[in-house]
């Protein structure tokens, strides 16, 4: 069965989800990953949205986190203060897995969702943190989810919206951020991890047909590709469920 870069990317993120996980996702590809995980790898996982819906029925694909489609057949409705408190509260927060994207990422997994330029002379403006910074400061595990381009993978961010490992293995401690930094970056070409000591991004796995050197060419900083191993192709069964159950209208996958 043929598959697209988006499909393998969604499945790669979905495989990270375990049954005990409470998955916080946005809309678009990150939601497909959460839904695919529930159908394929972790049927007992719970999906929730920062807008306040917990364990939504998701009979149709929502186009925003506040879409009425997240409200249908949800188990609970919460206020914004409540949803973010679940992340900040260590008892629940440690079981939460976030899947987040951003406009830019640096070698330490710090994210920019705010702007490019200087803060008083904005050149490019993005939507802002939303809940991304909150999530990055609070939850037990964080999957960063973005496509590899030179504009997105940059040496230095104009604005640090959401903390990754900041600049080394001690900086989250120094900033007094209790939760761990991001675990992996799932992209359309492969999966990056963060080095145990330096906390710098390295290429962990690459998808079939992808040359690790091509990933280096598309990343705007030096990335260690020496440890990378190939990932196997997605199975036909996985692709079938992904297509038929998560996005049957082909709103996102096509």
């Amino acid at each position: 069965m043929n598959y697209s870069p988006r499909e393998i990317m969604v499945l790669a993120a979905a495989r990270q989800i375990k049954n005990k996980d409470i998955v916080l996702c946005g809309t678009g590809l990150s939601m497909l990953a959460a839904v695919a995980a529930k159908h394929i790898y972790a049927p007992e996982s719970t999906i929730f949205f920062e807008s306040g819906a917990i364990d939504s029925g998701l009979a149709e694909l929502p186009l925003a986190v506040a879409d009425s489609r997240v409200m249908y057949k949800a188990a609970n409705f919460c206020s914004l203060v409540e949803t973010f408190s679940f992340m900040q509260n260590k008892k629940t927060g440690t079981n939460i897995v976030g899947i987040i994207g951003a406009a830019q990422i640096d070698p330490y997994g710090n994210l920019n969702s705010t702007m490019i330029g200087s803060y008083d002379h904005t050149k490019v403006r993005f939507a802002g943190s939303g809940g991304a910074c909150d999530l990055s400061c609070f939850v037990g595990s964080n999957i960063i989810f973005m496509e590899v381009t030179k504009q997105k993978f940059v040496k230095k961010l104009s604005y640090l919206t959401s903390p990754g490992w900041i600049q080394d293995d001690t900086s989250r401690d120094q900033s007094k951020i209790a939760a761990k930094g991001p675990s992996i970056v799932v992209t359309d070409m492969g999966i990056m991890g963060f080095d145990k000591k330096s906390k710098k991004m390295f290429l962990k796995e690459y998808y079939p047909g992808i040359n690790p050197e091509d990933i280096q060419k598309k990343v705007g900083f030096d990335i260690d590709i020496s440890r990378a191993v190939p990932l196997s192709e997605p199975k036909n069964g996985e692709l079938k469920i992904l297509r038929e159950k998560t996005d049957p209208e082909k709103l996102i996958l096509d």
């Binding site: 306040g52 149709e60 925003a64 008083d120 403006r125 939507a127 943190s129 939303g130 951020i177």
Partner: protein, 324 residues
């Protein structure tokens, strides 16, 4: 506080009375859901300018107010319209052209700031944003904050947890309370006294309403006296938090109102093109808003398409898949 028993007034009266030039406002809803759009349009119609807006993740309401030149300062966490505009289009242009000043917070921080306002305390603590530019970079500089006494004296303050025993040096971020001059929300139902019921997610609307000096509730339906008391567990706002009630069917259009109607996909796809060009946006404002009232706007912007967006009573939205 309006303690009257009949708070039902017209939209133009409500906006004219409570939203004045230079005032600080907040609007309810989230991206493409339950924004008080009819009220937003009336603010534009009455040409009320130099407003300061507080929002967590407002999309369409924020964007139209900015595009129409009503906003000078915004304290927000997020300005996007989901799949229709990952970054709100007028917001993006006006930020780059320095036509608005923006102060960035996180969603949780904005929610806590409204909650602090609702609780009557000056700030609330969180761990969010330690080590980030949200703390370090200020949109409103210290001088401006000193001069403008309606602004918080500082954007945020990091302090050590004063109760710490086991981890001395543990830090928290204090975010300042928000007490808007006026909050406007759109609900499914309210009664004449102001008791308000929202169906579906309530986002931050409840705290936003409680934190404000004046609150306007626009609603799809006015309930008969006593009707809402039959299931008080479903009511979020008591009458004494509400100053004006405005009966406005489709008052959230083009954003969604759970259980009533969906967002209008056609409108949003059209708006994307209009908003990208200020002269086109200006003509949209002139033609669709300045020369209409609310029901004429709905007729002009949606017309017979309204039947397409009506919610299925079971799901609360307009089912795409059933239509195919």
């Amino acid at each position: 506080m309006n303690t009257g028993k009949n708070k039902v007034i017209s939209l133009s009266q409500a906006i004219g009375r409570y939203v004045t030039k230079n005032c600080h406002i907040s609007i309810g809803g989230f991206t493409i859901s339950r924004n008080p759009m009819a009220a937003v349009h009336e603010i534009i119609r009455q040409k009320i300018k130099n407003l300061h807006i507080y929002a967590h993740s407002n999309g369409q309401g924020l964007d139209e107010l900015i595009g129409a030149g009503c906003i000078s300062k915004a304290e927000i966490a997020y300005a996007g319209n989901g799949r229709f505009a990952p970054t709100c289009i007028c917001f993006k242009r006006h930020s780059i052209e320095n036509k608005i000043m923006v102060e960035d917070y996180t969603n949780f921080q904005m929610a806590l700031r409204f909650m602090a306002g609702a609780m009557g305390v000056p700030f609330l603590p969180t761990y969010s944003s330690l080590g980030t530019d949200i703390i370090k970079k200020w949109g409103f500089n210290p001088n401006l904050r000193k001069k403008d006494t309606k602004l918080a004296s500082q954007k945020a303050i990091i302090m050590e947890n004063p109760f710490a025993r086991t981890d001395p040096g543990e830090k928290v971020v204090l975010v300042p309370a928000i007490n808007p001059d006026v909050t406007i929300i759109h609900a499914q139902t309210a009664d004449a006294t102001g008791t308000t019921r929202m169906d579906g997610l309530t986002f931050c609307d409840v705290d936003q309403a409680k934190a404000a000096r004046h609150t306007i509730v626009t609603c799809e339906k006015i309930a008969a006296p006593g009707e809402l008391s039959q299931s008080p567990q479903n009511n979020q706002l008591p009458s004494f938090c509400v100053d004006a009630v405005v009966h406005l069917p489709f008052g959230a259009y083009p954003t969604a109102c759970y259980g009533q109607y969906d967002y209008d996909v056609q409108f949003f796809n059209w708006y994307k093109k209009i908003a990208a060009d200020q002269s086109k946006f200006d003509s949209f404002i002139k033609e669709y808003i300045m020369s209409t009232d609310h029901s004429q706007f709905i007729e002009k912007a949606c017309g017979p398409g309204i039947s397409q967006i009506l919610a299925d009573p079971e799901t609360g939205y307009s089912n795409r898949t059933k239509k195919k």
